[in-house]
């Protein structure tokens, strides 16, 4: 009886694992099956072409969307990462315990707020501000970058803070004993040692920015064209799917799946880089 139970439990775990792994495989395979044919049909150069007009002109070029994703994400990283790292240094090294105890749950809460809320805030607050003071329609790369910068802050702050806090105490004590000031210690001892953790935090933050959909739909304007300045409207890969999926059929729908494949690949690359960076440390 006991042996039977033992065997059964092993089987059950295996069955559960097997089905969830096949479920995950199903998604991947499904998206590949749906998206690859259209790439084959129109060819890679056409797929990475400049014009996206799937219904009216039968053109499926996603290059402008790649540029859109990269520009918005880069902008978000440029704004969000320095602020995030400064915040984490403050929390890990300077903040008194009381402040830390308020900030930590607050950051946790911010990470959980639905992304549309951030997007909406951008639409009614940031967009008119840009329109007023910088000109242009306001729906722009800049607006998207600001919103995404705010959204990746919790990720960047919490992971870099953990990696700063997990450094051995002796590092800091040694540096201070050598007569370094607190800031010198942070700059030349703590930050370099926590580098891999911080880099991983940044990459994960970037991953979040790349994957965001609803918030950026609201503030980017979604024009599928190459931008000429930060004030121009762009469309990202995710918004391309989000905005057109509801109506798409046939080749158009497959092209959106193909967009999904490109997103998949980008995330895979980011993820492997993050893992590589963290593993190098050990």
């Amino acid at each position: 009886m006991r042996k039977f139970k033992e065997k059964l439990s092993g089987r059950v775990f295996f069955a559960l694992a097997f089905s969830s792994i096949s479920a995950l495989a199903l998604i991947t395979v499904f998206i590949l099956i749906k998206g690859l044919p259209i790439i084959g049909k129109i060819g890679l150069s056409e797929f990475f072409g400049m014009t996206w007009a799937p219904v009216s002109q039968n053109k499926f070029g996603i290059f402008p969307m790649i540029v859109g994703t990269v520009s918005v994400t880069l902008g978000a990283a440029l704004i969000g990462v320095p602020i995030g790292i400064c915040c984490s240094i403050f929390l890990a090294e300077y903040a008194p315990a009381a402040v830390r105890n308020i900030f930590r749950p607050a950051i946790q809460l911010l990470a959980g707020i639905p992304s549309v809320v951030y997007g909406f805030w951008g639409l009614i607050f940031i967009v008119p501000l840009i329109r007023e003071y910088l000109g242009g329609p306001g729906l722009s790369i800049l607006a998207g970058a600001i919103i995404l910068a705010i959204m990746i802050l919790p990720t960047v702050i919490s992971i870099s803070e953990v990696s700063l806090l997990s450094l051995p105490r002796q590092y800091k004590e040694g540096a201070l004993a050598l007569g370094m000031t607190h800031w010198q210690t942070i700059k030349s001892v703590l930050l370099p040692s926590a580098k891999s953790g911080i880099v991983a935090a940044v990459i994960l933050g970037i991953g979040r920015a790349v994957g965001e959909t609803m918030a950026v739909i609201l503030v980017l304007g979604n024009a599928p064209a190459l931008p000429a300045s930060l004030k121009d409207s762009v469309r990202t890969l995710t918004t391309n799917i989000g905005i057109e999926m509801g109506y798409a059929s046939g080749d158009h729908q497959e092209a959106l799946f193909a967009t999904g494949i490109v997103l998949f690949i980008i995330i895979m690359i980011l993820n492997s880089t993050a893992q590589y960076v963290t593993r190098k440390k050990h």
């Binding site: 008119p128 306001g138 739909i217 979604n222 989000g242 905005i243 509801g246 798409a248 059929s249």
Partner: protein, 287 residues
């Protein structure tokens, strides 16, 4: 050691009750799994959806035993859903294409909708020709000062996404064959979103359902076309050129509850509700 064991045991008990509760809940959910028979699914154009939804809401008050399920998705999706049997009735906000007519055996025009070209109320421009609108959407005209009475300000063009029924109606009625809307135009995925952006940006131009011009928190201004105002009367008498049909489609003539819902929509009572929303009586409406 003893203490921790105790804690573990208690936790385990807690967990067991959690599992039991989860099981009960899932059984309850599964038991709801039989699809109710009286459910009519109406699916398609997001332009028609809010009004079909409103009609269904009122219809449900009259016949509380029927559930009419109205969902968006777009004209193309609605027609595909009818073809694959997911929906009983499809909604389309454009005339059917030739290839669609091959399998759609039944269609009724429940209403006509005007296409309004809208700008911010503070924009001094209030009358354009079709050529001028086309010029804006191809970016031959990029500044409001190039238009009669316009300020010196860049034009911010807003359009709908590829695949939208409103967009294809606009392309058909304004752009014409082989002339494309510029890729630089900003894209919003619903009438409401276009309206929302235009109502907040003095230099923006967009196009939406005529019925939605008056609906929203902040006002927008519908442009006149060759001096003809975008009003219901002008669409009915044919002088305002931009209009499109709202269709209910199905493979064959619906029967049962679906048929009764269609009859309600085409009845004077149902038509009155659509007219109150700013639409024009459908060609297939009951006399």
């Amino acid at each position: 050691m003893r203490n921790s064991e105790c804690g573990i045991k208690r936790n385990y008990k807690n967990m067991r009750s959690v599992i039991v509760i989860l099981c009960v809940i899932s059984v309850c959910l599964l038991s709801g799994c039989s699809r109710p028979q009286a459910n009519v699914i109406v699916l398609g154009s997001t332009s028609v959806e809010p009004y079909a939804g409103k009609l269904a809401e009122i219809y449900a008050h009259i016949h509380p035993d029927r559930e009419i399920d109205v969902q968006g998705g777009g004209s193309g999706v609605g027609i595909a859903a009818v073809e694959s049997g997911i929906a009983d009735i499809g909604m389309s906000s454009r005339a059917l294409k030739e290839e669609e007519k091959e399998f759609i055996g039944w269609e009724k025009e429940i209403a006509k909708d005007g296409l309004a070209i809208i700008v911010h109320p503070d924009n001094p421009v209030s009358d354009l020709t079709l050529e001028e609108i086309r010029g804006i959407y191809t970016m031959e005209v990029t500044n409001w000062s190039q238009l009669p009475g316009g300020d010196d300000a860049p034009i911010h063009i807003i359009t709908r996404e590829e695949g939208s029924g409103t967009r294809s109606a606009f392309e058909e009625l304004v752009m014409g064959k082989g002339v494309w809307i510029t890729q630089k135009a900003m894209v919003q995925s619903s009438n409401g979103a276009v309206r929302q952006i235009v109502s907040g940006d003095k230099n923006a131009i967009g196009f939406i359902s005529l019925g939605l011009v008056e609906i929203g928190e902040k006002p927008v201004k519908a442009l006149a076309l060759n001096g003809v105002a975008a009003t219901r009367e002008n669409i009915e008498n044919g002088s305002y050129e931009l209009s499109r049909p709202f269709l209910f489609v199905a493979l064959t003539e619906p029967d049962g509850p679906a048929k009764q819902f269609v009859e309600y929509v085409l009845s004077p009572e149902g038509q009155q509700i659509l007219i109150a929303e700013g639409f024009i009586r459908g060609a297939d409406a009951a006399p």
